[in-house]
Amino acid sequence: MLTVDTLHVRYGSIVALRGVSLTIDEGEAVSVVGPNGAGKSTLLHAITGVVPVADGAITYDGESLVGRPIERIVGRGISLVPEHRGIFSSLTVEENLLMGARGLRDRAERTREIARILDLFPAIGERLHRPAGRLSGGEQQQLAIARSLLTRPRILLLDEPSLGLAPQMIDLVYEILARLRAEGITLLLVEQNAHRALAATDRTYVLRTGRIELSGTSAELSGAPQFEEAYFGFDATSSAGDHSMDDAP
């Protein structure tokens, strides 16, 4: 469904991605994990057209996405829930949802779809007329996911959905992802929180300093010794257990 082939991205003289390749099939849940600065967000930004591609190919349903404007790419059914959620804080919760539903046919259909999505996210349904900036971090993350789902994506890209959230909120967000996965939505999840990501997906890629260091099914990689090595870039077994993989700040 989505194929990334030897992708290179540069910011001026800094190389952010150096030859990243990965594939996602329809209905699959795939995670890309790696430390801060590995290039995870850059990968999602390249797919959605936010940053230009220096070299390589991104193909979606057999069609190249390279050089396409953002609106065109998201119009094809790719939706990004960005890092820090991208909530319009001065708009109300309902107006934020409306921005997700804006492409639907008419007012009646938008209202119906928003009501339907709120069944999945009851917490934000009670706060529809509040400015979205006043929601808690967990509620904002739910709003961001709900808003993206309203665009009716075929593939949902999530950038660090657990970032900055309290543990119960992280549980909640991952419950929501599990439900979406059960519904058959294709997921590409980017996380520093590797344990969570492995548990929530079918396959995982480990990205470090702009390269894929390791890939495999999430079941294989959980607990495999080479996983920590790939993630941290050294032999983790020899250097005491003071680097745990799920303590991302």
Binding site: T48, P82, G86, S90, M99, T151
Partner: protein, 294 residues
């Protein structure tokens, strides 16, 4: 008592025009982070459109002026500002000065640099008795038009999908694009509305002062810009508040300053605005999105 009422009407009519100028500038700044100094030239071209059409029925003159200025604003966006989208602030600023001077000099080539008189809607200069004070009809018209435009714009921004998209784009242009908002269309629409506001200012202003020069837009644009800064850059409500505040200070200074100092009113006006900014450098109304982005 009558003097107070007179002053309130003065402040509301002057402040309303400044508020419309500030809104036209603030609307564009909110979305593309561009301080459009050519906004004054939108007003000036509107003034010359009135001159060009003088003699035609008033309604036709007003309608044609609105169309001319809206088309000019759309053209400036498409030709000058769209290619600069996303450029650094100094580049945008220089771009807007270039457009401003270009339009001024094109008009100068056609009409010369001297003052031209226009007699537009002379009946509106007559006074109406109103609650014991006599007020020029034009002042009342200016107040009514301002209130209608502010209400219309508030409705558009709050209650229509385009308006909500415009606010979303103003807060986070990239996120709006990621949700499929057609930002080129939304930005063009913002320029059209900005042009409409400038055209209305042009019509009222020309009827008020009755003379045109190619540089007539510079002063109102400067005041409009200052109003957006004092009100809080990026906040439309702030722009309106800033406009009315400057109008009020202007009128109050006109009343309380001794006769021999009145010629220097603007020195006191800008001095007091400077004091406001010393106390509240972020402006009267702070927008969180603008603060995060700077």
């Amino acid at each position: 008592m009558n003097n107070v009422l007179q002053a309130v009407v003065d402040a509301a009519s002057v402040g309303g025009i400044y508020a419309l100028m500030a809104l036209g500038i603030g609307l564009i700044f909110g979305i593309v982070r561009l301080v459009n100094f050519a906004h004054g030239e939108f007003v000036m071209v509107g003034g010359y459109a009135v001159l060009l059409l003088a003699g035609a029925p008033t309604v036709a003159v007003i309608a044609a002026t609105l169309i001319v200025v809206v088309v000019l604003a759309l053209g400036v966006e498409r030709i000058a500002f769209r290619p600069l989208r996303g450029a650094a602030m100094p580049t945008l600023l220089v771009g807007s000065f270039a457009v401003s001077y270009f339009i001024q000099h094109v008009v100068m080539m056609s009409y010369g640099g001297n003052t031209v008189g226009v007699d537009f809607m002379p009946k509106l200069s007559e006074s109406i008795e109103f609650g014991g004070v006599s007020v020029p009809a034009l002042q009342l018209v200016a107040i009514v038009v301002t209130v209608l435009l502010l209400a219309g714009l508030a409705y558009f921004l709050k209650a229509t999908l385009f308006g909500i998209e415009m606010r979303a784009a103003a807060e986070d242009l990239r996120m709006a694009r990621l949700l499929g908002v057609p930002t080129n269309l939304i930005i063009a629409l913002a320029f059209a509305i900005s042009g409409l506001l400038a055209a209305v200012v042009a019509v009222v202003y020309v009827a008020q002062i009755g003379v045109l020069t190619p540089r007539m837009g510079v002063q109102p644009a400067l005041i409009g810009f200052v109003a957006t800064v004092v009100g809080g850059m990026g906040s439309l409500l702030g722009a309106v508040v800033g406009g009315f505040l400057i109008g009020t200070i202007t009128v109050v200074l006109q009343i309380i300053l001794p006769l021999e100092l009145r010629d220097f009113r603007d020195a006191f006006l800008f001095g007091s605005l400077f004091l406001i900014l010393l106390v509240r450098p972020q402006g009267l109304i702070v927008v969180r999105a603008a603060r995060e982005r700077v």
